[in-house]
Symmetry: C2
Subunit: 338 residues, 2 copies
DNA sequence: GTGCGACGTCGTAGATGGTCGCCATCGCTC
DNA sequence: GAGCGATGGCGACCATCTACGACGTCGCAC
């Protein structure tokens, strides 16, 4: 691999001049620029980013740490990050933490060691100790999707509470009377906020809140399946379910289908977070759609701004959701069978 | 940020000794090891990977370049790569080329500049000029999913031809008589191989091959939709479709549903490549399941081996598919309506 | 016309953080 | 006392950037 010295020798200039040409600095004789350009061409010279990063003690890489690459919610978000990062001149390193705090920690270590210019993280756990570690090391960080408890850090969220409220209100207004809520673990801010929104909607409509109908579980499909099975075993079955997560909703639906419970005939269903294939599932799922792409874009913008101005006070951006009404929450009593 | 010199000073040893401790080299007095360990702890020392990479002129990063992070086929493959890479001590940089050869080229440039230890690429286009560039720079490369024309390079593929043959044979045996094939662009080896398998199955069963029933299109859902619309407009409609891609199959299905053509009542359907939500789609899609995870693992293993032994002749691994029979290809004539 | 300062241009050299080959030293054993 | 192995330090090196200084030229003022 040709180095800057090889180019310098061939162009009969100093390495400093080559560096200036490469980095587009002013005050270089156009004739020399031309000579250097040609030499680079002839040698197939490609600047060594590693050496450059060392010397400059900064890179143009962002780490994006997400809990699951298989979840379209995150991949769509990543696209938003990517487009904005590209505009700002950064490249992405996508890290799949697999819902595992240790793996997440490993990636944070790597980000620190590799002197990443910034990190965007959707934390796997609640405490977000790794976020603190990044902040202590003065690495620009943006937290997305879930809130990091007690940390003053740039954050981008969706309005989970309002979204859940809208979903629940929709079920109430569609005539459902006994509405359950299947949400994620208590440790996830998204899960508790969605449960809060669900409760609020019930109260606002003068409905009782029955804690037996609220299930805090995991976030995987199986968790939704199991929670639904428990709900069906109750003395008084729910006639609708608000599933506060896309994979949870799939699990709930699969359970209902396995038990031959018709949706929305016997049980209405609303999910949280859009799925790319939602229209193809039968019944088509009513969901609280999140602006995933915009979530990523906003996070990227916050990160750019923090890198440019490290001292600024952290800000939180909250994006609105909107309810996408489909068949799975059709008016109670009007549809029979599925 | 503490450097190796700070640690050395605090532990009253030389930087070299600290380096030896960090890298677990032999022949260091246990007492010194302990002193160094404590000093690192106290200073919160973290080795600078950039400097290390520069000195060693190698890194522990692999670039994985895929055409679409939104496609579960690739994300599942990435998980396979990730697990195997982790075992071999490498981390992943996931690059989303967005089906765009220029973006792909940009990521290849970055991989070269950042001195990545290796690259796994599912090429966006046919010629794979970027793969050649990597090989010229002596960067270990493995190509997955699609074949890079005329390049002697480590490759991991699935047996597309055999898979397509099985899918088509299945439709024939289920009683369908006029089977169409919707496949990707002619430039993709996967698309042409699957079309070949389709043709072979017809011939083996003594059926005529009607070129009007073979559609080379794109790979997105919309391409499948449009192709199906054209097929429906034919004088003599097909009574079954082999859609040689998961997104293509979705498009085909959506088109059929929009036109109120019942599946499998009026038209049978087999897709290629599993979808995580396939069981929830109605009708459940029969698909040629690919060993996506295994694909990634094999690619990672090949890359490890090439890094260890750069001179070895390139090899190609071909993995088998298997047909996952579901409702969408139920026996012709037995099911009416959908 | 000469002198001086400013400015444009380019090269030298040091710095970045860590690694590793080589060599010196030390202690032990025979 | 010689030889050997274990141990640890010195200093070169990786490729690049950049502060500083040197040099030359030009313009302006006296």
């Amino acid at each position: 691999m040709a180095t800057i010295y090889d180019v310098a020798r061939r162009a009969e200039v100093s390495p400093a001049t080559v560096s200036r040409v490469v980095n587009g600095h002013a005050n270089v004789d156009p004739a020399l620029v031309e000579r250097v350009r040609r030499a680079m061409q002839e040698l197939g010279y490609r600047p060594n980013a590693v050496a450059r990063n060392l010397r400059r003690s900064r890179t143009t890489l962002w780490a994006v740490i997400i809990p699951d690459v298989g979840d379209p919610f995150y991949t769509s978000m990543v696209r938003g990050v990517e487009d904005a990062a590209r505009l700002a001149g950064f490249s992405l390193v996508l890290c799949n933490a697999d819902d595992d705090e240790d793996k997440e920690g490993g990636y944070v270590d790597a980000a620190l060691a590799e002197q990443m210019a910034g990190v965007i993280v959707a934390p796997a756990g609640p405490g977000a100790p790794h976020v603190r570690r990044l902040m202590d090391a003065r690495v620009p960080v943006v937290v997305v999707d879930r809130q990091a408890a007690d940390l003053r850090v740039d954050t981008v969220l969706v309005d989970n509470e309002l979204g859940a409220q809208a979903a629940t209100a929709h079920l109430i207004e569609a005539g459902y009377r006994r509405i359950a809520c299947v949400t994620g673990p208590r440790t996830a801010s998204t899960a508790t906020q969605r449960a809060d929104g669900y409760r609020q909607a019930l109260q606002e409509h003068g409905r009782p809140v029955d804690d037996a109908l609220i299930r805090y579980t995991g976030i995987q499909e199986q968790a939704g399946y199991d929670a639904m099975r428990e709900l069906l075993a109750l003395g008084e079955r729910p006639d609708a379910v608000f599933a506060a997560g896309n994979r949870l909703a799939l699990g709930v639906l699969r359970c209902l289908q396995d038990r031959a419970v018709s949706v929305p005939g016997e049980v209405g269903l609303v999910g949280f977070d859009e799925l790319p294939w939602a229209p193809l599932i039968r019944p088509a799922l009513t969901t609280v759609a999140q602006p995933t792409y915009e979530l990523g874009r906003s996070a990227a913008r916050l990160l750019s701004e923090r890198i440019a101005e490290p001292g600024r006070p952290p800000s939180t951006i909250t994006l609105a959701t909107h309810l996408e009404v489909r068949a799975s929450s059709a008016r109670f009593g009007r549809v029979n069978g599925g």
